[in-house]
């Protein structure tokens, strides 16, 4: 199979091995981000697969630049914002888990908060969700987030402000998570 790659793609086994090492080391982290961006395990896997295929497409250039993960994250976020791609493949509402537990179990406060947060994230636009993940999960600065998303810093600020406001409206139970967050 590897030999086939060599012949058809014109790329040596070394390139494939390097790519495999990259996937080995970074796929877990990327998948977690993809999960937060998509709100669904299967969609997250599709998103990661699509992202990695894009990275593989430009592997030589990406590897030469020395930071494949940065490129992969940029692609990941852009693909997540372009939700029409995912909807084409899997026509369902993204990130809309049930608000109430179906098994009647007595959930802990943490579990309940997790479900509420997941549902609230699902009601944000893909770009709002991407901004929140960049700013508060990956702990990026506004400038870094703007660079990843390919927009201005002011857009990041506005989008963050709107996203937090929407979170407070749609999930007032989670106000404790957001009330101390201030967007300049």
């Amino acid at each position: 199979m590897r030999a086939q790659f060599d012949v058809m793609g014109g790329v040596g086994q070394e390139g494939m091995a390097g790519f495999e090492r990259f996937v080995q080391s970074r796929s877990g982290t990327l998948l977690r981000t993809a999960y937060l961006l998509s709100g669904d395990r299967h969609l997250a896997e599709d998103l990661l697969q699509d992202t990695l295929a894009k990275v593989a497409q430009h592997w030589e250039a990406v590897e030469e630049e020395g930071n494949p993960e940065a490129y992969a994250r940029t692609v990941l976020y852009h693909r997540a914002v372009d939700t029409w791609r995912m909807r084409l493949r899997r026509p369902r509402v993204v990130g809309e888990p049930a608000l109430e537990p179906t098994d009647g179990a007595d959930l802990s406060a943490e579990s309940e908060r997790r479900l509420l947060l997941q549902a609230a994230l699902g009601r944000l636009t893909p770009k709002q969700r991407a901004v929140l993940v960049l700013r508060f999960y990956e702990d990026r600065t506004e400038a870094q987030a703007a660079a990843v998303l390919g927009c201005s810093v002011s857009t990041v600020k506005t989008t963050t402000r709107d996203a937090l406001k929407r979170l407070r409206v749609t999930a007032p139970e989670l106000v404790e998570l957001t009330d101390r967050l201030v967007v300049t």
């Binding site: 977690r32 937060l36 497409q57 999960y137 870094q144 998570l177």
Partner: protein, 471 residues
């Protein structure tokens, strides 16, 4: 201090640590690698194809008409300099006929150019040049083009006066005493002595120094039937018989007209036609009466029929299927007749019968009248739908199109210069292909180029963002 959003998001991401992440890393890497390389090959192939298409487009655009096909049989006038286009495409922008330029291959009436619809000169490589001609087919005087494509006769869109223009030297002769009586000028009292009505064809003499027209005095007598205008500015009324139908030039000094006579109980039928040679010196010579091989009930007789062949030896006239509107001077021919009888001018004997696609229909379908002229050049035409728009000209000997026209132009008239179709064909790589893509290749290339620019820009932005984001 309670949890904050960052902690909650991290907790949420931890959900993935549970069971369900079944795909192994080697599988993930192999699948992604395979997909990525396939996509890479596809993109490269597309780029190569687009680049090749762009090269082809540049070649076609830079070298129009560089490939000459085998010429058709020799031109009747002996000229070999004038050629014809193989394709007439709808231009992106319209340009006027330059004061001086190359001979024209044809005159065309386009009804598909929006506010630029009207009369155009067709260059030998298929370009369209707007003519300063007043009116369309229904309300204007049809421009006349000489056999060599140099001399153009028309009614000017400005003052409504007739002009003869040499497209090569740029010399224009204006005739203040000859104007159109077609709408809207007919609504007013003409201030010029001679008038030319709508739907009137003109004929340029073989030497290109005169134009013959069916005209009349604008007073009450209406006695003049044929006018000969010279490039020296002269106006010569030739005949006082309004029953004459002008057919063309016999030589540089003689025009041929046909006199029709009704007979029988149905006065709408023209059963006897007599060619008459009218000399510029005032002489009138009656030629033998046209004699069909078998009796006919009547001819389609109008300004479009009869028609003199380019070699000036034969006269064609149609037989209308419905002959009730074909009286002399009716100006409309008749019905859907498809049979044309060809007579020898010198003897009056019928020498040929040919079937053409409705050559003499009423002028509401302009292309039919134009078909007559093409018929004489050994060609027939067909349209899409038939009879409404001229989309191709095909020599009858081969049946294969020698010229195709963009249906979007909606050509209601396409009159080739006598020598054009017999001259060299100015071809392009697209040949006579008439598919949608063949007429819209420029738009397709532009769209592809825009997509390429968009893709490259996006890729550049992604790379830049990756470098910045990874910092």
């Amino acid at each position: 201090m309670g949890p904050v959003l960052s902690d909650a998001l991290a907790d949420l991401a931890d959900d993935l640590d549970g069971p369900g992440h079944a795909r192994t890393v080697p599988d993930l890497a192999a699948t992604a690698w395979s997909r990525g390389r396939r996509r890479r090959r596809r993109v490269r192939s597309t780029r190569v194809a687009l680049a090749a298409a762009a090269v082809v487009a540049v070649v076609v655009a830079v070298l129009p008409g560089s490939w000459d096909r085998d010429a058709l049989p020799a031109a009747p006038s002996g000229s070999v300099t004038l050629g014809h286009p193989v394709r007439i495409a709808r231009p992106w922008s319209v340009s006027d006929l330059p004061r001086r330029g190359e001979p024209l291959a044809a005159v065309a009436l386009s009804e598909g150019m929006g506010r630029n619809s009207g009369w155009y000169g067709v260059t030998q490589d298929g370009g369209l040049r707007r003519l300063p001609v007043r009116g369309g087919f229904m309300d204007g005087v049809v421009p006349a083009l000489s056999a060599d494509g140099r001399v153009l006769g028309y009614v000017d869109s400005g003052d409504g006066r007739y002009r003869i223009h040499d497209v090569v030297t740029g010399r224009t002769t204006t005739f203040p005493e000859v104007g159109t009586t077609a709408y809207p000028d007919a609504q007013h009292e003409p201030t010029y002595p001679y008038g030319v009505g709508a739907q009137t064809p003109g004929y340029v003499s073989p030497d290109g120094t005169r134009v013959a027209l069916a005209g009349a005095t604008t007073g009450n007598d209406g006695s003049v039937a044929i006018l000969v205008l010279g490039t020296d500015g002269s106006v010569r009324p030739l005949a006082a018989d309004s029953g004459y139908s002008l057919a063309g030039w016999l030589d540089d000094h003689t025009v041929l007209a046909v006199a029709g006579r009704d007979s029988g109980p149905d006065t709408d039928l023209t059963t006897t036609l007599t060619p008459v040679a009218l000399g510029l010196d005032g002489s009138v010579r009656r030629l033998p009466v046209l004699r069909p091989a078998t009796p006919v009930s009547g001819f389609a007789y109008s300004q479009w029929s009869p028609s003199l062949s380019p070699d000036r030896r034969s006269l064609a006239i149609g037989l209308g299927g419905d002959q009730h509107d074909s009286g002399p001077g009716s100006g409309s021919g008749s019905g859907s007749g498809s049979t044309v009888l060809v007579f020898d001018v010198a003897s009056g004997r019928e020498v040929d019968t040919s079937e053409v696609a409705s050559p003499f229909l009423p002028p509401t379908t302009a292309s039919h009248a134009g078909a007559k002229h093409l018929e004489w050049r050994g060609a027939t035409w067909y349209g899409t739908p038939p009879g409404e728009v001229v989309t191709a000209v095909a020599p009858r000997t081969t049946g294969a199109p020698a010229l195709v026209a963009d249906p979007a132009l909606r050509l209601g008239w396409l009159d080739l210069a006598d020598d054009a179709l017999a001259g060299p064909a100015h071809s392009s790589l697209l040949g006579t292909h008439t598919g949608w893509a063949a007429w819209h290749w420029r738009e397709l290339l532009l769209g592809a180029a825009a997509l390429m620019v968009l893709g490259l820009t996006r890729r550049g932005l992604l790379s830049a963002a990756a470098r910045t984001g990874g910092a």
